[in-house]
Each structure stands twice: as C-alpha cells, then as structure tokens.
Amino acid sequence: MRHSLVRPVLVSAVLFMAVTGIAYPLASTGIATVLFPRQAAGSLVRRGDAVLGSAVLGQDFHTPRYFHPRPSATSDQPYNAASSGASNLGPTSAKLRDTVRDRVAAFRKENSLADNAPVPVDAVTASGSGLDPDISLANAYAQAARVAAARHLSLDEINTLIDRQTQGRQLALLGEPRVNVLALNLALDSAR
C-alpha cells in the first residue's frame, strides 16, 4: 500500500503546483488585464507620461501648500511603498506616548492651532500599512487654513474643495467618510 502512494504523492504535488500556482494566477491576470487594465496595473495616476503615484496608495507630503497624510511608520522613509509597515507599539508604550506627544505639538504648530486645541486622532497616529491614502474630514478641515494661506486662496475655496473630494461611506453604509490626500492635492493643483 505504501509503495502505491509514491506516484500520486509526487505527481499531485507537481500537478497542483502547476494548476493552482501558475495556471490560476495567470488566468486571473489575463481576465483582469482585459476587464480592468487600470486597476490591474496598480491604479496608477499619470500626468502625461509621468507616473505620479497610485490612486489607492498614500504618498508623503510635507510642504505647507499641500494637505499632509497621516504619519507613517514605514522603514527608511515615510510612505515607503516597497516596505509597508506600522509602529506595532501598544497603548502602554512610553515610546509611542513620546512620539504622539511630539506629533501633537508639531501638528498644532504647523497649523497655527492653540496650545490646548484638540487634534484629530488620525493626524497623530501611524496607520497599519504606513501607506494609508486617506485622512478624516476633521483632519482635513484642521489643515485647511494653512493650505489656504500658503496658496493665497480663501478658506471657503479650500473647504469647498474638501467637500467635493470627500468620499462617503461605500454603498452608503460601509467604512468611514474620508478624503484621499493625493486626489485632494491634485484638485488643489488644478484649481490654481
């Protein structure tokens, strides 16, 4: 009986590797590329021939004239799309407490907020992927005055842009209302 197992054991490993490890992903790639070529390639955002980023990935912004994304804990640099990751620090971590304290101070300073002004939690916490493309509406509105000043636009114009770029809950139910930072910043650039 044992002898008779050798062939099916070996053949099934190779056969199903070929079917499930090669044929299936290639078939999926083929269908996806025909039906949804933009998404299959990574939802790339282009301006002319240049690739500006991916519509579903966050990217780093730190100049005052752009909206800033959430803090990112990816290695080497923030929003490193070749090395996703998080702080993995828990709520009793002294290191996390000190980091968040510094972020709160920095957020208030760059947005000229009062010393005791509450800061939206997503603006001072790193996301799970380090590539979160979105910020909360509270975070966007808190940054609006800074962006308006840097671009010599009125606060109303900026707030209108935020409202226009706000993504509601999917199917009116799922997830959270949010603003995609790259889309908002692209809209800012084309508003000028």
């Binding site: 062939r7 099916p8 070996l10 053949v11 099934s12 490993a13 056969l15 199903f16 590797m17 079917v19 499930t20 490890g21 299936y24 999926s28 996806a32 039906l35 998404q39 299959a40 390639a41 990574g42 939802s43 790339l44 690739v51 500006l52 980023g53 991916s54 579903v56 990935l57 990217q59 780093d60 959430r70 490193n80 799309a81 090395s83 996703s84 990751g85 998080a86 993995n88 828990g90 709520p91 009793t92 971590s93 002294a94 407490r97 509450p118 939206p120 997503d122 916490t125 790193a126 799970g128 992927s129 590539l131 979105d134 909360s136 509270a138 509105y141 809950r169 799922l174 997830g175 959270e176």
Partner: protein, 567 residues
C-alpha cells in the same frame, strides 16, 4: 454607532444567506458520483482508482504524505528563488530556517510570516509557492473534514472516502472557480494583478516612490476563501493594494466565513441530521457575536494615552475616533474590529490593522479566539475541533446523568475519549510549552518590540497563532531568528496534525460501530440546551486552561494602562 451596528448585521445576514447555497454545493462536491474532465485526467496522471474507498489510516497517510511532498516542493522553489523568473527586483532567496518556517507555515494553513512579502519574495514565489500552498492546504483541511464527517455517518464499515478524489474535486469545483471570480472582483475594486514587479512614481513634491506590485488579487482570493492569511505585503490586508475599499474588506470577511459555515450545513445534509448542523452553526454565531461585543467597544473607546495628550478620539461625523494607531482610515473602528474578530475566529490570520497596537482588551479577544480555536475555525479543522468539544460535552453530561455517552447514534467509549483528550490537550500544551520555553530561552526576549506585559503578550500571541494555524501576529516581535523560526514552525506542524489526525482516528473508530437506537437516556444534541452546554464547555475549558497566561499579558496590561503606567 448605529451605522457601525448596521455594518455588523449586514455581515452576519450575508454570511447566513450564503450558508445554504455554499453548503449545498459543498455537499454536491463531496457526495455525487461522476468526474469532471480535468479530474479524470488528473486521476490518470496520479495512477489512482477513483472508485476505491479508503479507511481512515490510508486516508490520513495519503493526506500527510502529500502535504509533506508539497512542503518539500515549496521549500525547494523558495531556496531556488534567485534562478526563477518574474522578478525584476532580484530578491534573494530566504535563509534555510526561514524557508522551513515559511513552507511549514503555508502547508499547515497557518500563513505565519517571519518575512515581508514585498522585500523577500519574487512574483514567481508568490504564485508557485504561496498561492499554490494556500490552495492545497485549504483543500487538505476540507478533505480531512469530509473524511471525518463520513466516518461519523458510516455504519459498521471502514470506508471514509478517497483522499485524491476529495482533494481534486475541492480544488476544481470549489476553490478555483470561486477564487477566479473573486479575484476579478477584487481587481475591479483596485487590487493589482500583474506580473510586473514594481513601478517608480515621482510624487507631486518630486520625491521618488518605489511601488511594488504583482499578482495580488489571485493571492488575496484564495487567502481568504481558504482561511490562509499570509499577506502579499508585510502590512497584509491593511495594505491598500490588498484591501483597497470597505467593500473588499466585507468580501474578505464573507470569504473567510464561507466554507467554515457551509461545512455545518454540509454536515447536516450528509448525516441527514439538518438540525444538528444548525445547532453547530448557532454555537459559532453566538460565540462570535459575544466576542465582537467585547472587541468593538474596547477599540472605540480609545486609550488613556491619547486622552492625556488632548488628542481628540471622540467618534463623530467628521472622524471615526477611537484607537487609530495601526488602523486604516477607510475601515475606521467598525470595519477593523469586526475584521479582527472574523480573522481570528476563522483562524485566517489576515489582518487589516496591526494587532500589536490594539488596546489590551481589544488584543485579548483575538488571542482568546485563537486559544479556543473552534469559533468557526479554519476550513475543515475548525469544524472538527467543534465536534471534539461536542463529544467532550456529551461525555461530561453523560457522567452527570449516569449514562453511557452517545453522539450521533454511536456510543462514545474509552478509546474515543482518549483520542479527543489528546486533540484537546495538544493545543494548550503546545502553546503554553513553547511560550514558557521562549520566556526562558537566552536571547529570545531581545526580539520583543514592546516592554512590560505587552511584551509577554507578543510571545504568547506568536505561539497561539502558530499552534492554532492562524498566522496573525503581534508584529512588534522580530520572529525572524533561528529560534523563533524553528519553534514556531514546529508549533504549526504539531498544532495542525495533532488535532487533525486524532480526530480522524475518532471518526474511523466511530465508523465501524453499530448505530444504537435513541432511547430515553439519550441526550439530544440538536437542541438549544445542548448548544448552550457546548458553548459553556468550550469557554470553561478554554478559560481555565489559558486564564493564568492571559493574566500575565493583556489583563495586567489593561490594569497598568488604567493606572497610567507606561513601559
């Protein structure tokens, strides 16, 4: 808050409505005669007689040996990665201890990862090793469960089915069609599916962003359908490429629940005991809802740390609020906390937020769900674990009322109880033994990412996840050392085969028994009363076994957090 509850209800309603459809199809796959063309070709290549039955030993041996061969094949491909195609990034092969850990992890349906996918694996390895092992480990689990169910249904005979037939049919008729459709839906929502390894972007501020891509959607589909859980990227399903929208998050969860819940229905049909199937499903759902009811408020309340720094964590129309460290904005608190519960209940191990950054109570829920290992559970084995606890419940209650315990018309005797206890005890023995070893092993503590009780939670989480074949992690632990790679690798193998094989032996032993007619002394097992007893036994046995270790980790951490202590 009501919109959060509505999202939970939607998930449960959709899950429940898929039970009948998927359960019927699963029953068809496992019971009807007639082979499809690719199956017939496969049987000819394998050189097997598809009509021949197997007893539980032959079935189990075929399962273990074919798993071993696939593990070896995966090992070889990973070691040879640098000579294989589809990698413009020239990623080097993993070290031998890491490859052992990876191959063991994926063949046991654990999908623990001591590496980051985007920096360590080529697209070819992601397909030919990871996607391949994900599919076959899921198929093996479902096949094992099918044999187990047939053993329970059998009367005075040894035949529990043919492993090769079950395995082939599950792949051709269930996993591949569902995954192919799901992967295309995933791409529509924004997941990449390409053979290109990377794209360089120049951001609006002029910096270069190196974007890693690949065949993500096909991997994500089987990852969730097969309750596997290993990520294409290091950040797993928190990565926008692995989980771009709240809709994909919902589909991930439905996919994880699909087969574990359908198995209860298939079980009811195959034994002609429909009510028993529903009773088991009810036990799953009641426990799941109970754990979700702890998880969600814990994360929504946020942390005293944020409050003390005057961070605004109040949920409202403009922000989800709560403990957002390690979470993604598109999922907020609701879609994250329900995902945490689903992924550890169904022992998938896919994560859409970093569990290491959960609140102490929020982190204890996934830990305890994996310790129980039978609230839905992984494809196939979760159901088997639930039945082992059902037999234990019948036994305990039988002792209380002074009758010989019977289950599904079969007498439960000493041999079955010994095997059930072996399966029930192997799990905590493995978790607590390895955790104790790691706590004492010189140098092992230097891998911890957090200090204080949270560091201990990282340790016990790692071995619980490995043994329960979950694969999620408290990611602060640097597990890529020879010690952790080897011990977690062993925990995964022991946790898989020391629950699966003893329970297949139980099924084999019950198969040859006569059916005894129900009498006044028979405890009916398809009643709400029995379901309550079953949940009670699961929670009490799990609680008594693991409470001391939970007290050293999350419970102490919760008290420290409330006292304003930092580490």
């Amino acid at each position: 808050m009501s919109i959060d509850i509505a999202q939970f209800v939607l998930l449960l309603v959709l899950m429940a409505s898929l039970v009948v459809v998927a359960g019927r199809w699963l029953t068809h796959v496992l019971t009807t005669g007639g082979d499809w063309l690719p199956e017939r070709i496969g049987y000819r290549l394998l050189g097997i007689n598809s009509k021949a039955g197997m007893d539980w030993k032959a079935y189990g041996l075929a399962l273990v040996l074919s798993n071993a061969a696939m593990l070896l094949l995966g090992y070889l491909i990973l070691r040879m990665q640098s000579w294989l195609p589809f990698d413009a990034l020239h990623r080097a092969a993993q070290t031998p201890d890491l490859v052992f850990n990876t191959a063991a992890s994926f063949i046991t349906n654990t999908n623990w990862q001591s590496y980051s996918g985007e920096s360590s694996l080529s697209n070819f390895s992601q397909m030919a090793v990871i996607t391949f092992l994900m599919t076959v480990s899921a198929a093996s689990g479902i096949a094992g469960c099918a044999a187990f169910i047939r053993g329970l249904a059998q009367r005075e005979a040894r035949d529990v089915g043919n492993y090769w037939v079950d395995f082939s049919r599950i792949i051709w008729r269930l996993l591949l069609p569902v995954c192919l459709v799901l992967s295309v839906v995933y791409v529509w929502q924004g997941m990449p599916q390409t053979l290109a390894s990377a794209v360089d972007a120049t951001t609006l501020e002029g910096a270069t962003q190196h974007i890693v891509t690949g065949p993500v959607a096909s991997l994500e589909a089987i990852k969730h359908i097969g309750t596997n859980g290993g990520g294409f990227f290091g950040a797993n399903a928190a990565h926008p490429f692995e989980n771009p929208t709240p809709l994909t998050n919902l589909l991930h969860m439905l996919a994880m629940f699909l087969i574990p819940s359908a198995l209860t229905y298939a079980f009811g049909r195959m034994l002609s005991r429909r009510a028993q199937g529903w009773a088991f499903l009810a036990a799953f759902i009641v426990m799941f809802v109970g754990f979700l009811a702890v998880e969600y408020p814990a994360e929504r309340a946020g942390t005293p740390m944020f409050a003390s720094l005057s961070v605004d964590q109040t949920p409202g129309a403009l922000q989800p609020g709560g403990n957002m460290e390690g979470k993604e904005m598109r999922f907020g608190i609701a879609q994250t906390s329900v995902f945490v519960a689903v992924t550890t209940a169904a022992t998938t191990g896919s994560v859409n937020a970093m569990h290491d950054s959960l609140t102490p109570v929020g982190g204890m829920v996934p830990l305890f769900l994996m310790m129980l290992n039978d609230v839905f559970g992984g494809v196939g084995v979760g159901f088997i674990n639930l039945v082992s606890f059902a037999i234990l419940t019948v036994f305990l209650v039988g002792m209380m009322i002074g009758r010989t315990p019977e289950f599904l018309g079969k007498k439960i005797e000493a041999r079955e109880m010994k095997l059930v206890m072996l399966a029930v005890l192997a799990h905590p023995f493995c978790i607590l033994g390895f955790t104790a070893l790691a706590a004492l092993w010189p140098g092992a503590a230097s891998s911890l990412g957090n200090a204080g009780p949270h560091g201990f939670s990282e340790l016990i989480y790692a071995y619980t996840s490995g043994t329960a074949n979950n694969g999620s992690a408290f990611g602060g632990l640097n597990a890529n050392t020879p010690f952790y790679n080897t011990t977690i690798g062993l925990a995964m193998l022991l946790g898989r085969y020391f629950t699966l094989l003893p329970m297949m032996a139980v099924a084999g032993s019950l198969a040859v028994k006569r059916t005894v007619p129900e009498s006044q002394g028979t405890l009916p097992t398809a009643t709400p009363l029995f379901t309550v007893l079953l949940i009670f036994v699961i929670v009490v046995v799990g609680g008594l076994t693991f409470l001391p270790s939970l007290a050293l980790g999350p419970i102490v951490e919760h008290l420290s957090m409330a006292a304003g202590q930092f580490f």
